[in-house]
């Protein structure tokens, strides 16, 4: 089974969407969710989630709080903010615009 790098610039979108669906996750769960949802096609370099999450925290799209996992370990859980929801809508429409354009180019006439 081949695995593909995620298209550049879509990491935010993936994280935002993940959190919109699953409400409250820690970093590992986010990575797992993305891979599972894409049926293991999309491969995130898992570490790169963290700088992205930091940037999103700073921009106020997500907030974090410390909680305890099922395995009884401390973990930082991220949730979406109102700003984050707006950003998700923005990123989605941007993504669809690009995908639409790409589709038009590659579709056989």
């Amino acid at each position: 089974m081949s695995r593909d790098e995620i298209p550049p610039g879509t990491l935010y979108l993936l994280i935002l969407k993940t959190l919109a669906v699953r409400k409250k996750l820690h970093g590992y769960e986010i990575a797992e969710f993305i891979e599972q949802q894409s049926e293991d096609v999309l491969q995130v370099e898992e570490g790169s989630l963290y700088p992205a999450l930091q940037r999103m925290l700073m921009k106020g799209w997500v907030v974090a709080e410390w909680g305890v996992t099922a395995g009884n370990r401390r973990a930082r859980y991220y949730t979406l903010t109102a700003d984050g929801k707006k950003q998700l809508a923005l990123e989605l429409s941007k993504f669809q615009r690009i995908m639409g354009a790409v589709t038009k180019v590659v579709q056989p006439a």
């Binding site: 898992e46 570490g47 790169s48 963290y50 700088p51 930091q54 106020g60």
Partner: protein, 911 residues
């Protein structure tokens, strides 16, 4: 999206970096552990599982860095490393650093020092409640006591009372006696005894409303109130200033049980004013405040509490919140007319009414307080501020030049860094940080320098007996100013070199950067800097020349008396308790005069009410048969018989006072030449009669003599209207005593003081000095400006010389190759020197050509500070140009010499 929120989060992050790091590490550790567990569950060996987890995660170190970078803390970290790097770079070239730091410290320090004086004298608000609501009746440039029908500067106490009741525009009105009384008083202990000697106390009489109206609280006890000022003579209370309490009572917490004795009256201390409050007049801080109701008990016992037409008070009001200055002015002027006419003893003659109807009182905002010194010092301080700002500019140009030269030397380093991928903005930031480090270090040295310079400055502007009570300590505002100056400086001198240094042709620089083309490209900017330094230095030199010449001219003005060899001191007789018209007082004066005159080495001695620049008692004189102009004020000086001999004011006609002029004989006067010519009918005025002031019969005087004009108040005054009266006919509670002597000053001074004490042990002697000193002190301002501008002018030239030296050394080193070729082709060494010198002279000439018109324009700005000539002064200009040429040629000589020492073989082999 909240930008403010983002900023807030970023700032929070700055303070919680460690916490942040730990959180991130824990989070990442959890991730790796969970992944490894997953792999183990799939059946991998522990080693393989860990490897797989790491592989999937990526480089942890790099991820951590990128996460931190997300918060922008990378910028901060690199800022700190830039500072360390910058400091190291500065240590690497100590000579440059020392020169730069010194010129910065001097420049910033001088700016800070002058600004602190400027701030204290001109800018700072009074430490009272809402100072911007306060207004003063009049312009605030007069003090003293007068007996006019109406005055716009000073007011009678009853006037203040009426204004207080009738006005509709002020929420409060207060009156302040326009002079502080200097009294030798005693601090008494609980038993009412004084165990110390008397001490000089500056006492300010104020209305009971003064403290409440200003909103000034007491540090201890209470302040004065309306009750203390309700009836005359029976409220002997005093409020001390915080400074006096600290100084003279050692901050005694039981001060409220103690008493103060002024003259013959014992005052109860009821409170200490708030620490910050120094009064309402900048440059005079009273030691204590006494209610105006006690005016007769505070020596010299001014009688002004009930006199409708004795003007001695400054009146201030606090505007009601919704009242404009214009509305208040209208109301006050209306009341001035009403109140003045309404006094029962008003002389409503046509002349007085005319005068009253023409009188208009302006209101002046007084948020910054009254000040006698403000007028005197505001212009000199502004000029000095401009001068030091120019010096700082020159220093900046200098450092910019040095940095430019150095950045050329660092060209390779910077090129290597750029080639390795450093962004240009990053390099510029680093170079600017270095400049900032330099400027901040200079700024700190500058503050140290300013603290020392301030004390020196304050001593220079003070009168020699007491230091002016100005608060020029370091404060937040001052430090803010210095910081702003410092950062501006760094930007000024750092920006151009930083941009310049990073604009590189990489390959050129890496190829050793010694091509002739590279040198050319960087010269013009440095040359512009040198030219502007020369131009600015010229402006400062010309200015200094003008002020120096002006000072010399001032000192050459003939005051009309002989300032040499006169001892003068003040004799205070308050302690004797004699009133002004007590015959025993005059007997005491005569006794002192005759005993001192008999001392060996003493030629003449006399009392006088004034000598020079000590204020005045002025009055109009009425000469029969002449149109009387009461606006011509004549200074009245009450003197002893030996006064003219002591001062050596020559007699022109008639005689001076003699023992024949007594309290019962015809009242006589000696007039100055100028009065004789302008106020008397043609012909010899000796024998003429005139009336003084109110022109009452008992104020009829006969002219017995005419003396040459003598200056009375300042060296620069034109009209010398002085009328001399004898104290035997017109009693005066004296202060001044003058002794003409020959021989050693300190011997004479000691024997004179001894002689006075032997007559009456109680009289107080103070302010011992020479007449020459007293006159010299009146030109303090001019001397201050002349000395400081000369100092800064020379500093400017010196800095410019360093700039030229630096530039030319650099040019010579760049042109070694070319010089070598020239010499190999047969150029003489002198030709080579000339080649270099010519370049310097050209730059200096351009600088001078630019500087001359600027200097001429600047001269016009200071024209009214100058004495004895107007505007453009060819002497100062020529002197400045010559000096500048000499110094700059000297600065250029060494590089030129070095150029001529170039060994052609060496130079050619170099490349």
């Amino acid at each position: 999206m909240g930008l403010p929120g983002e900023l807030k989060r970023r700032i929070q992050m700055l303070f919680h970096r460690e916490q942040f790091r730990r959180d991130l590490e824990e989070e990442m550790r959890l991730h790796l552990d969970l992944r490894r567990q997953q792999q183990l569950d799939r059946g991998l060996s522990p080693v393989e599982a860990a490897r797989a987890a790491h592989l999937k995660f990526g480089n942890t170190t790099r991820i951590k860095e990128r996460s931190l970078m997300a918060w922008g803390s990378e910028t901060l970290e690199s800022f700190f490393s830039d500072i360390v790097y910058g400091a190291r770079a500065l240590f690497r070239s100590p000579a440059l650093t020392v020169v730069a730091l010194l010129s910065l410290a001097l420049g910033i320090g001088a700016n800070t020092a002058i600004f602190s004086l400027l701030d204290a004298v001109l800018l700072r608000s009074l430490p009272v409640k809402d100072p911007q609501q306060l207004v003063l009746l009049g312009r605030g440039n007069s003090s003293g006591i007068g007996d006019n029908f109406v005055s716009t500067e000073l007011y009678s106490y009853p006037f203040y009372r009426q204004l207080q009741q009738k006005n509709a525009v002020f929420s409060g009105v207060a009156a302040i006696f326009s002079m502080t009384d200097d009294v030798h008083g005693f601090v008494l202990n609980n038993e009412g005894e004084s165990n110390t000697d008397s001490q000089l106390m500056h006492v300010n009489l104020v209305s009971g409303t003064y403290f409440p109206m200003l909103g000034v609280r007491a540090q201890l006890g209470r302040t004065l109130n309306e009750a203390d000022d309700s009836s005359e003579g029976d409220h002997p209370v005093v409020v001390l200033s915080h400074g006096f309490w600290k100084r003279s009572l050692a901050s005694d917490p039981n001060v409220l049980n103690r008493k103060i004795k002024l003259g013959t009256t014992i005052f109860t201390i009821v409170g200490v004013a708030h620490r910050e409050f120094f009064g309402t007049s900048v440059g005079e801080s009273p030691d204590m405040w006494v209610p105006m109701s006690m005016t007769k008990s505070v020596p010299p016992g001014w009688d002004a509490y009930n006199k409708n037409f004795v003007q001695s008070m400054n009146v201030i009001g606090r505007l009601k919140p919704d009242v404009s200055l214009a509305q208040a002015t209208t109301n006050v002027n209306l009341l001035l007319q009403q109140i003045t006419r309404g006094f029962s003893d008003a002389v409503l003659s046509q002349k007085n009414l005319n005068k009253l109807s023409k009188t208009h009182v302006p209101l002046t905002p007084m948020a910054n307080g009254l000040s006698s010194i403000r007028q005197e010092f505001s212009e000199p301080l502004q000029i000095l501020m401009a001068v030091v700002a120019l010096v700082l500019l020159i220093a900046c140009a200098n450092i910019a030049n040095l940095l430019l030269a150095r950045s050329t030397a660092r060209a390779r380093e910077l090129a290597v860094r750029q080639a390795l991928g450093a962004r240009r903005s990053r390099l510029i930031r680093q170079l600017l940080t270095e400049s900032l480090v330099l400027a901040l270090a200079g700024g700190m040295l500058g503050i140290g320098f300013a603290v020392v310079a301030n004390r020196f400055l304050l001593r220079m502007v003070s009168d020699g007996f007491e230091t002016l009570p100005l608060d020029i300590g370091l404060n937040l505002r001052l430090l803010g100013f210095t910081f702003a100056v410092t950062v501006t400086t760094a930007i000024l001198f750092g920006t151009i070199p930083a941009f310049r240094a990073t604009r590189l042709h990489l390959t050129d620089s890496l190829k050793d950067g010694r091509g002739p083309g590279g040198a050319r490209a960087k010269n013009p900017l440095a040359k512009v800097l040198v030219v502007s330094q020369v131009a600015l230095s010229l402006v400062l030199m010309v200015g200094a020349g003008l002020f120096l010449r002006s000072l010399v001219n001032l000192n050459h003005i003939d005051p009309g008396f002989n300032r040499e060899n006169v001892l003068r001191l003040q004799v205070e007789t308050d302690v004797t308790g004699y009133k002004e018209d007590d015959p025993r007082l005059n007997a005491l004066f005569q006794q002192i005069e005759s005993r001192v005159s008999a001392l060996p080495g003493v030629k003449a001695a006399s009392f006088s009410s004034f000598t020079f620049h000590e204020g005045s008692w002025s009055d109009a004189i009425f000469v029969s048969g002449m149109p009387n102009n009461e606006n011509i004020e004549v200074h009245q000086n009450v003197v002893g018989n030996g006064y003219f001999d002591t001062m050596q004011i020559p007699l022109i006609a008639g005689r001076t006072f003699s023992t024949a002029d007594t309290a019962t004989s015809q009242r006589v006067a000696v007039i100055s030449e100028h009065i004789a010519k302008t106020l008397f009918p043609p012909g010899n005025p000796v024998g003429h009669h005139f009336g003084l002031g109110d022109n009452k019969p008992e104020h009829d005087f006969e002219v017995i003599g005419i003396v040459k004009d003598a200056k009375f108040d300042s060296l620069q005054e034109n009209s010398e209207n002085v009328n001399y009266l004898s104290y035997l006919q017109r009693p005066w509670n004296f202060g001044d005593f003058e002794v003409r002597y020959s021989g050693d000053f300190s011997n004479i001074s000691a024997s004179v003081q001894q002689a006075i004490k032997s007559i009456n042990h109680n009289v107080r002697i103070s302010h011992v000095t020479t007449l020459d000193d007293q006159v010299a002190r009146t030109v303090t301002n001019q001397r201050l400006v002349a000395q400081l501008s000369t100092f800064f002018g020379l500093l400017a030239v010196f800095l410019s010389a360093i700039g030229i030296y630096g530039l030319m050394s650099y040019v010579v080193s760049r042109r070694t190759n070319e010089i070598g070729i020239r010499m190999a082709l047969g150029a003489a060494r002198s030709n080579v020197s000339w080649l270099v010198l010519r370049e310097i002279l050209l730059l200096v000439a351009i600088g001078i050509a630019i500087g001359i018109p600027v200097a001429l324009a600047a001269d016009r700005l200071v024209a009214n500070m100058l004495v004895g000539f107007k505007g453009a002064d060819p002497v100062s200009l020529t002197a400045a140009v010559v000096l500048l040429l000499l110094v700059t040629s000297a600065a250029g000589y060494f590089p030129a010499k070095r150029a001529s020492m170039v060994d052609p073989m060496e130079a050619l082999r170099y490349e």
